[in-house]
Structures are given as C-alpha cells and as structure tokens.
C-alpha cells in the first residue's frame, strides 16, 4: 500500500502537478503552514504547563522573591538600582525582531529577494542580541548573586527587625516586613559598593554587608552555612517574637528551578529560531525560494515560529518580571 502511494506521488511529480491531489487545499493553507500552526499549538500547551506550574507554586508560598529587587542590575552600571530596565530592553529587542520578521514576510510576498534578505538579517541580529542579554542576566544571577537551581538567596522579611553587629549590638540597619534581601556568600565581592547601594533608597542592601568571617560557623552577627552562604542575624522588633534573634532564611526554593527552566526553555526556542533563521537566510541568498515561486512561503512559516517565541515572552515577562 505504501508503495502505491509513493508511486502515485512520483507520477504526480513527474507530470508537473502539485503535491496536493485532493481538490482544494484544506483551510486554504499549505501542508507546511498548517503543520507549523499545530506544532505551535502543542508548544503553547507545553509552555502553558510550565507557566501554570510556576503560578501554582507561587501562590502556594507565603512570600515570593520581589522582581524589582531580583532584576535591578544593568550592564556597565555597577550596582545602580534600575529595576526591570534590562528586561524591558530585552522585551523591546524581541519586539523589534518580530517586526523585522513581519517585514521580511511582506517582502517575500512580492518576491523581493534583497528585501527579504535585509529584513531577515536584522531579525537574526535581534535574536542574537536577545540571547546575549539573556546570557548576561543568567551570568549575573549565577556568578554574582549565587542563585542555583535549588538554592534561592532572594528572601523576603516576614517581620520587622534590626540587624545586629558582631558584638551583639543593634545596628542602624532596620527593616520592615515585606522588604527583600539577598543572602551573600563569603569571599564574594560585596563590600566595595556600599556607598552606591545606600543612595538608592535601601534597595541595594544586598551589597552593603562586608563579612567579618571567612569560615562557616555560628557567629554573633551571622550564621554561615557549609556552602558559605551568609545568613545575617537580626533582632525581631514587632509581633509575637519581638526580642528574639533570628537568622535570614533562604527564599522559596522553587524560584531558581522555575526561573532557569522556563527562561532557559524559552531561550532554547530563541536559539533554535536563530539557527533556522540563518539556514533560511542562506537559502534566500542562494535564490532557492526564487525558483519555488510561492511567495517565500518558507520565510512565512519561519515567521510564524518567530512570532510565537515573542508571544511566549509576553507571558514570561508578565509572570516573572511584572507581577
């Protein structure tokens, strides 16, 4: 049976007839375009599954890392607090590349080879720039802020208090419930930026602390665990536990895994998108699609995928950074 079909197919080709022999193409879309839509539908469910898992775990926790505290750094700006600015830039880069992709598809419809090439090249640049930004963001989180898949140093105070110093005395650093903090690591570069951090209204507290200790242990002002994370100690000033000395705990454990997995999965989509864009760009340059005379349909299919990547980013941006 399979051989029959194959022969029939070959005959159709030999006589110069189109592939589809069953009358009008279903839903007036070619096989490739239709399948791209259904692939994107299934991919949408995959992403939705991840994002719903994120939402479920987030509402389950009493506190969650505060996005404008976690994502406040910008390249070449030191420790100046610029909440969400870098990720907004990333969003604009992806939006821009989505627009250049639309332009490439439009030039394809009117069989303008050089137009398609120029706009596709700009799209590739946009995709690469986005990946570069994401690499910087990940590097900052991993190397500078010591976040891992299972350790989340971004915590939130659940009660008001005041930090204590090495002699057990109260310092001037007071905080209220709901304020975020970042747990540092011994031997890391934290102390140099204290002055900068103070200027931005306390959001940079994370970088103020200069550790007096360099070995794990239970000290008067901090508890340093086996991996070197410094859990600063504080005295609770309000509520039932007023007067008690406590040490800062890690934030919700799920945050690191969810962040790296979901933005990583999206970044992987961008990466494979860029690779396919490059392949199709080479095909455009070689004149392959000129011969096909189908209005650069391959570019159109690639466009669907690329816009989908932008579409997913809209929701990643909303859930991880805005809310």
């Amino acid at each position: 049976m399979a051989t029959d079909t194959l022969e029939h197919h070959d005959v159709a080709h030999a006589e110069g007839k189109p592939d589809w022999n069953g009358g009008n193409a279903p839903m007036k879309a070619s096989y490739g375009k239709l399948m791209m839509w259904y692939f994107l539908l299934s991919d949408a469910f995959t992403f939705a599954g991840f994002l719903i898992a994120y939402g479920t775990l987030r509402v389950m926790m009493p506190t969650w890392p505060v996005p404008d505290f976690v994502f406040q750094l910008f390249p070449f700006m030191g420790h100046t607090s610029l909440p969400l600015m870098f990720v907004t830039l990333m969003t604009f880069i992806l939006l821009f590349s989505s627009w250049t992709m639309v332009r490439a598809v439009q030039e394809g419809h009117r069989e303008n080879q050089s137009g398609v090439a120029v706009w596709m090249f700009l799209t590739i640049l946009g995709g690469a720039a986005f990946l570069g930004c994401q690499a910087w963001e990940w590097t900052t989180l991993i190397a500078k802020e010591n976040m891992t898949v299972t350790t989340n140093p971004f915590g939130t105070h659940i009660e008001s208090g005041v930090y204590i110093d090495n002699d057990g005395q109260e310092t001037k650093e007071i905080f209220e419930a709901g304020e975020p903090y970042l747990i540092g690591v011994i031997g890391a570069d934290h102390g140099d930026h204290g002055d900068d951090a103070h200027d931005d209204g306390g959001h940079g507290d994370a970088f103020v602390y200069t550790p007096h200790h360099d070995k794990p242990g239970d000290y008067t002002d901090a508890l340093i665990d086996e991996r070197g994370y410094i859990h600063k100690k504080y005295k609770v000033t309000e509520g039932e536990d007023a007067g008690m000395i406590k040490s800062q705990a890690f934030g919700p454990k799920a945050f690191g895994g969810l962040f790296f997995f979901i933005t990583g999965f999206h970044g992987f989509h961008v990466l494979s998108g860029v690779l396919f864009l490059i392949i199709i760009f080479i095909n455009v340059m070689s004149g392959l699609y000129v011969k096909r005379k189908n209005g650069y349909e391959m570019v159109e299919k690639m466009g669907l995928y690329w816009h989908f990547v932008d579409l997913v980013w809209v929701f990643v941006f909303l859930l991880f950074y805005l809310l």
Binding site: M60, M101, Q106, F315
Partner: protein
C-alpha cells in the same frame, strides 16, 4: 492570504509594533507603581490588596491584548479562513480550566500549610485532650 496591498500591510505592521511598544511601556509603569517605586503614597492611601488586584489585573489584560495583537496581526491569523483559526484557538480554551484549577489547588495548599502552623501554636495539653477524647470514642465503638 492577506487581501491588503503591500503598502497597507506595511502600515498595519508599523502601527501594530508601535502599539505593542507603548503597551509594554505602560506595563512597566504599572509595575513600578505596584511595587511602590513611583507614587509610594498610593500604597498607604489604598487597600494594598485591592491595589495589587487592580494593577495586576491591568497588566494581565494588557498582556493578553498584546498576545492577541501578535497572533492576529503578526501571525496573520485574522486573514486565515475561520476553520483554521478555530482549530488552533479553540483548544486553547482548555487553559482557562487549567489556570483556574491549578491556582485553586495552590491556594488550597497555602491554606493547609497555614493550618498546620496554627495547630502547632496550640499548647500541647489541649491537643492531648482532644486526642484522648478521640481515642475514647474509638474504643466505645469497638
């Protein structure tokens, strides 16, 4: 395929991208207000929970609008035959159930966790009494 001329579709694309950029800026402004970076007075003058719901809801609606614009204009869904857009868009309605069900579940877990914390606050003796009563009831039944 699009029934627009080249010039028309070009201007639609330009308008759409400008709209998407403006919405993104508005979203970031709302996020800044919501976190108290801008207009910190608003946090104190309003019920914080109501403020979170209002601003969060606004950001969700704006994001959904962005998604619709990308699908219908950039991905040309509004120029496909209705049957195609239905086969792609209708299955997504399952996600409405998914979001409601899982967020419900997550909120319930948060409640259970708080319940355990609250129970642990209750003095040991009164909890013991409760247990003894339970034991007696079980013995009576036997």
């Amino acid at each position: 395929m699009s029934s627009h001329t080249y010039e028309e579709s070009k201007s639609i694309a330009t308008k759409t991208i400008i709209l998407l950029a403006i919405i993104t800026v508005v979203e970031v402004v709302i996020a800044y207000i919501g976190k108290g970076i801008w207009f910190p007075g608003l946090q104190e003058s309003m019920n914080p929970r109501l403020l979170t719901i209002l601003l969060g809801g606004a950001m969700i609606i704006l994001s959904l609008y962005k998604a619709v614009k990308i699908v219908f204009e950039f991905m040309h869904m509004s120029y496909e035959v209705p049957a195609l857009s239905k086969t792609v868009l209708l299955p997504l309605l399952l996600l409405v159930w998914g979001v409601i069900a899982f967020l419900w579940e997550g909120t319930a877990w948060k409640g259970y966790r708080q319940k355990i914390i609250d129970k642990n606050e209750v003095p040991a003796e009164s909890q013991m009494q409760g247990m003894l009563i339970k034991q007696l009831e079980t013995e009576d039944l036997i």
